[in-house]
């Protein structure tokens, strides 16, 4: 069952820049396989200011917590560099 999470998490990046693991609720979740990044733009002209970046950065990845069953997650990286666990796809 997909669930909206919206929790700030710490993400550990691999040397090549891909997310390798994230810590959610004190538990480390290890990324399995190649995570996929998705960048979606927003129509800034409908807002009231010119943005620095026009994209939202989202990472879709599979991860599991200490041998538990793997889930698919969406991790969002915000403009300030902080990570948010957006969705748990189950």
């Amino acid at each position: 069952m997909p669930g909206k999470i919206d929790a700030t998490v710490d993400v550990i990046l691999a040397k090549n820049g891909d997310p390798a693991a994230f810590i959610w609720d004190r538990f480390e979740h290890t990324v399995i396989g190649q995570p996929q990044a998705i960048f979606t733009r927003h129509p800034w002209w409908e807002t009231s200011a010119i943005p620095t970046l026009i994209d939202t950065e989202l990472w879709r990845l599979d991860a599991s917590r200490a041998g538990a069953e793997q889930h698919r997650y969406d991790l969002r990286r915000d403009a300030d560099g902080s990570w948010v666990l957006a969705v748990d796809w189950g």
Binding site: D18, P35, Q36, I38, F39, T40, W45, I50, I54, D55
Partner: protein
């Protein structure tokens, strides 16, 4: 690890790429990468800048172009990237140039045929990248692999082996063309076809922060607001990503498909390998820095160019200096110059320029060199230049010396209206494969930027126009500063504070600053080269049809391309028109080369500051300066022209010069050794030539090196070292330290400002000729000015000036007016100028042509039959009185005529009978009881202004002359009688507005030139504090009344310091109301301008 980008659009892909090549190259270097290809859309517009940037950044450069391709049936095959291979002695680059030029021969939008591309790509000269925008990529986006395979097969069948590479692009969009799906399918297709694939990022900007600017570019390209843009870029990932991020993209692409092991390393390796193959050497591949002149046979010589040049030059000197005391000196100078020419191997260059000048002269065109080339005896001997350099103290080394690193540059002035004919003749004579016009890159300034930014945000056109109109020439990125500082922008500034949308507008406008906007043909540059030209520059059609290089003037010198600047000078056209009119009227030929150059009447006129229409001397600032300077010789004119430049003005040179000239200060020569070359300007350093001689005297390095040092004067970083060097050298040469330091102070203050005397002297010839003609043959002179419109003033003012000088102006008349202004001789022998047909707004060239061809007409019917005017033209002609011939010049009948034309044109197709009847009835109209109401209450002046924007018989200010008398306006013609400091009212129609650069850059002064119809224009000056008070009125009030104070600016100069401004219409209205409503006791003035107060002030005067 490093990643080479092979597909990058720079800002020279106008309205697409948004980052300048220099920034891209610097970014690549900073990211630790070592290669960058720029592949601009439809051309190599940024190529040479890219090369220079890469050399400066120490990285390898590749070059390509993104081109549309079509098949044999002209069906589009999408867009591909064509990359040139290096290490092939330039063949790759040549094929690329040819491919781009071929694409531009396609009608409407550039596109190259696949077959042509295939033939250019033979011998492994080119790689064609088939990526997402190709027909193959389009099929893959639709997940149609079968079609993609068929299309790839078609490509493989036609293209030479090894010329095709597939291009994998992924912008990590959620779906669609930029997503991982089509990218991984492209990779799969390469595996299927056993073709190499490379990874690119189809880059449009350097950093992700510039994605907004790319949005703006998309909006501008589509001429559509962003909100209505069908397909904005799907995200902001088309940036110049560093290698880690590119590898990451590669990993994701490979991961989503099923590819054999080792796919990613192979993809990256193939990318690197292609980059290696496409690395171009600036010298061996592009031929940078190697000049190529037309072949000997083309310039008409058989032997050694140097020997040939020697022979011609010697002969030329003998002929030019016959009976001249300078003959021996000239031969010595020639030997000196020829030594340099020989050393640099430029003999062919001089022969080429001389040949071009001969071509022009043979066409009957007056040719006149300008610029530093005028300092050469060689150019004078070859008749390339008309100024004798020795007597004018000009210097060869200012033009050419072994110390100079750049190619010589000769500018040729010609009559403007013959310029296109001249180009065609040069193309014909040299051969189209050796000649091309040069282009110029137009960059965004504030007005254009605000318009495009406004459109992107969907701000209504009218609002944007209102803002754009307020913006004078400043850079877009200075928008914010300008809003703060300029009083006339105060309203916008306040609005910006309130409105977020306007705040965004300002931000976007700044982003466009200085980005290339479009390219157009350069107004004068012609590139002359040998048969290899089209393999070194891509060309496209210019507006006038002749091929134009995609390179601009900054690219010429690095590319070793010789350019000849053939400048159309409209004043030269005006002068030749005047000479021709004079010949037509009198049969006499004025030989301009032989008019006396010391004519007192001409100098008297110049001293009187009535220089309107005189070349280079007609601006308000020049009028003021000439009033102070009081020129009495040709050399004085040269000084005048040279002083009136931004640099000298900023350095306050005019003041120093004037003080010394008029004996207010003693000429300061600093040292006796400087005296010989400073005498001509009373000790003030005005010219580049004087700077060179001074440096030479101080250092003993010779004039060639002196010119190199002179150029460094403009570079603040070099200044300290240069000073040490020059002073140090001077001390060893016996200059006392105090003298050396003072001399250096003068030199460093001079900067690289000022003017080459060579340039000033060349201008002065045309200046003097125009002044002489104005003085002695005003009617033909003004007919030339009005025909070719060479100056800064509106025609209405030129006409007013002509009238003031006693030349009658004749109205437009279809029986007499021609395509050009002609002089007619009136009964009593006086000269009059007949208005030309071109002044009628809205008429077409074809209509005017037919009028000129068929006149005179026997009747209105005859006119209508043979001219076939559009209804609008027909009526407009009647309104302004150009058809008065058909009513016996009885103005009272014009309303009737117009009514008749209204009726006539309504029924033109059917009622032929009436037309015939009408023919018989003219010139006595029988429709006396039908009168058009259009003319009621409108004076002839009103009608002329509305129909032509100028007035022929009366001055447009005459309607206010009663008012002026009432309120005590001082006429312009009487201003000179007033002492300085008098409080006055002046008025008039605004003829020009200037905001000249000010010394020290503090404050800004607005000059308004007002014309009240009585004499010369009145200069009104608004200083900063006044501007703050009157706001936009300083720029926008058209009919002005100004209260101010006179300021004497020399013997014959006066200007007004403006303090208050009113709109004349408002004043007239208020005063009318007062007169009519005097019964109202109470004072009800409500206008913010407080006109009531002024009225009382005037009453006191009256």
């Amino acid at each position: 690890m490093s990643f080479p980008h092979l597909h990058v659009s720079s800002a020279y892909s106008t309205h697409y790429g948004v980052t300048m090549p220099e920034n891209l190259a610097d970014q690549v270097q900073a990211q630790g990468d070592d290669f960058l290809a720029v592949t601009d859309r439809d051309g190599l517009y940024g190529a040479i800048k890219h090369f220079r940037a890469c050399t400066a950044a120490g990285i390898r450069a590749g070059l390509g172009a993104e081109l549309a391709v079509h098949d044999d049936e002209h069906r589009p095959l999408g867009r591909v990237v064509v990359l040139a291979h290096g290490g092939m002695a330039g063949r790759g680059y040549a094929a690329l140039c040819r491919a781009v030029s071929a694409a531009h021969t396609h009608p409407r939008t550039p596109s190259i045929s696949r077959r042509r591309l295939a033939s250019l790509a033979t011998l492994r000269t080119l790689t064609v990248l088939l990526g997402p925008a190709s027909d193959i990529g389009q099929a893959l986006t639709m997940s149609d692999s079968a079609t993609a395979r068929t299309r790839l097969t078609a490509w493989s069948r036609i293209m030479p082996e090894g010329s095709i590479t597939l291009e994998v692009v992924c912008h990590l969009t959620p779906s669609g063309p930029g997503s991982v799906g089509p990218a991984t399918r492209m990779l799969g297709l390469a595996e299927w076809a056993v073709l190499p694939a490379v990874l690119t990022n189809a880059v449009r900007y350097g950093t992700p922060g510039e994605a907004v600017t790319a949005d703006l570019a998309d909006s501008t390209r589509a001429l559509t607001p962003l909100a209505e843009l069908g397909a904005p870029q799907s995200n902001g990932q088309a940036w110049l990503k560093p290698d880690t991020l590119m590898s990451q993209v590669g990993r994701m692409v490979v991961d989503v498909g099923s590819h054999p092991p080792g796919t990613l390393p192979r993809l990256l390796a193939d990318t690197a390998e292609l980059a290696d193959r496409c690395t171009l050497d600036p010298v061996t591949d592009i031929g940078l820095g190697r000049p190529r002149m037309p072949e000997a046979a083309i310039i008409g010589i058989t032997g050694d160019p140097h020997t040939e040049l020697w022979a011609r030059a010697r002969h030329g000197v003998d002929e030019r200096y016959t009976n001249s005391p300078l003959l021996a000196e000239a031969h010595a100078a020639l030997a000196h110059e020829m030594a340099t020419v020989h050393q640099l191997g430029f003999a062919s260059y001089f022969l080429t320029v001389a040949k071009a000048c001969d071509l022009m002269r043979n066409m009957g065109v007056r040719v006149q060199a300008r610029g530093s080339g005028v300092g050469s005896v060689l150019n004078y001997a070859l008749h390339t230049s008309a100024v004798e350099p020795i007597s004018n103290n000009l210097i060869w080394e200012r033009f050419l010396s072994p110390e100079r690193q750049t190619l010589p540059d000769i500018d040729i002035d010609v009559e403007a209206h013959r310029r296109h004919d001249i180009y065609r003749e040069i193309f014909r004579a040299f051969g189209a494969e050796r000649v091309s016009l040069m282009s110029m890159t137009n960059t965004y300034r504030s007005r254009g930027a605000v318009r495009d930014a406004g459109r992107a945000l969907g701000i209504p056109d009218l609002d944007i126009s209102a803002i754009a109109k307020q913006l004078w020439r400043f850079n877009a990125r200075d928008f914010r500063t300008a809003l703060k500082e300029k009083p006339e922008l105060a309203e916008i500034a306040a609005e910006v504070q309130r409105s977020q949308q306007l705040e965004m507008l300002v931000g976007l406008t700044e982003r466009l600053d200085r980005l290339p906007r479009h390219i157009s043909v350069h107004p004068c540059g012609v590139i002359l080269s040998d048969l290899s030209l089209l393999e070194r520059t891509p060309v496209q059609a210019s507006g006038m049809g002749l091929p134009m290089s995609q390179f601009d003037k900054h690219d010429m010198d690095p590319l070793g391309l010789i350019k000849l600047d053939v400048l159309g000078v409209r004043m030269m056209s005006s002068i030749s028109h005047a000479v021709e009119e004079h010949r037509r009227l009198t049969g006499e030929t004025i030989d301009l080369d032989r008019i006396p150059v010391d004519d007192p009447a001409t100098f008297d006129m110049l001293c009187s500051t009535r220089t309107l229409g005189v070349f280079q001397l007609e601006s308000p600032g020049q009028m003021e300066l000439i009033g102070k300077l009081q020129p009495r010789s040709f050399n004085d004119i040269t000084v005048e022209i040279s002083l009136f430049r931004p640099g000298p003005m900023e350095a306050n040179m005019p003041l120093h010069y004037l003080q010394a000239r008029h004996g207010e200060t003693n000429p300061d020569y600093i040292d006796a050794r400087f005296r010989p070359f400073l005498t001509e300007t009373n000790g003030v350093v005005v010219y580049h030539e004087q700077v060179m001689r001074m440096i030479d005297a101080l250092t003993g390095d010779g004039l060639g090196h002196a010119d190199v040092l002179r150029r460094h004067l403009g570079k603040p970083d070099h200044l300290a070292a240069l000073g040490d060097y020059i002073i140090g050298k001077a001390l060893t040469r016996g200059f006392p330290r105090e003298v050396a330091e003072r001399a250096w102070k003068v030199l460093s203050g001079f900067g690289n400002f000022g003017f080459a005397k060579a340039h000033g002297a060349a201008f002065a010839i045309t200046t003097y000729r125009s002044a002489w003609l104005k003085q002695h043959h005003p009617a033909v002179f003004f007919s030339g000015l009005l025909t070719h419109d060479p100056g800064m003033w509106p025609k209405d003012l030129i006409i007013a000036e002509a009238r003031n000088l006693g030349v009658t102006m004749l109205p437009m008349d279809v029986q007499h007016s021609g395509l050009q202004y002609r002089v007619e001789i009136l009964d009593h022998g006086r000269h009059a100028i007949r208005l030309a047909l071109g002044e009628l707004a809205g008429s077409s060239a074809a209509e005017r042509q037919r009028i000129a061809e068929h006149q005179p007409f026997t009747s209105l019917q005859d006119f209508r039959d043979r001219v076939r005017p559009k209804r609008r033209t027909f009526e407009a002609l009647a309104r302004i009185g150009a058809l008065d011939a058909f009513i016996d010049y009885n103005r009272d009948l014009r309303g009737t005529l117009l009514a008749h034309i209204h009726a006539l044109t309504g029924a033109v197709q059917t009622v032929t009978g009436t037309q015939l009847a009408f023919d018989l009835d003219l010139p006595t109209p029988r429709y006396a009881n039908t009168v058009s109401l259009e003319l009621r209450g409108r004076t002839q002046t009103d009608l002329e202004l509305a129909g032509m924007g100028l007035t022929v018989t009366h001055h447009q200010m005459e309607q206010f002359h009663d008012l002026f008398r009432n309120i005590g306006v001082t006429p312009a013609s009487k201003l000179l009688d007033l002492p300085g400091g008098s409080e006055v009212l002046v008025a008039g129609v605004r003829r020009a507005t200037h905001t000249p650069p000010m010394r020290g850059g503090t404050g800004r002064v607005v000059f308004c030139s007002l014309d009240d119809g009585t004499g010369p224009v009145t200069q009104v000056v608004f200083f900063t504090d006044t501007q703050a008070r009157i706001g936009a009125a300083a720029f926008h009030t058209h009919y002005m009344l100004v209260r101010g104070t006179t300021r004497r600016t020399g013997a014959r100069g006066i200007s007004i310091t403006g303090e208050e401004v009113w709109d004349l219409h408002d004043v007239a209205h208020t005063i009318n109301q007062r007169t009519h409503a005097e019964k109202l006791a109470s004072d009800t003035t409500t206008t913010s301008l407080d006109i009531g107060h002024v009225y009382e002030l005037f009453e006191k005067r009256a």
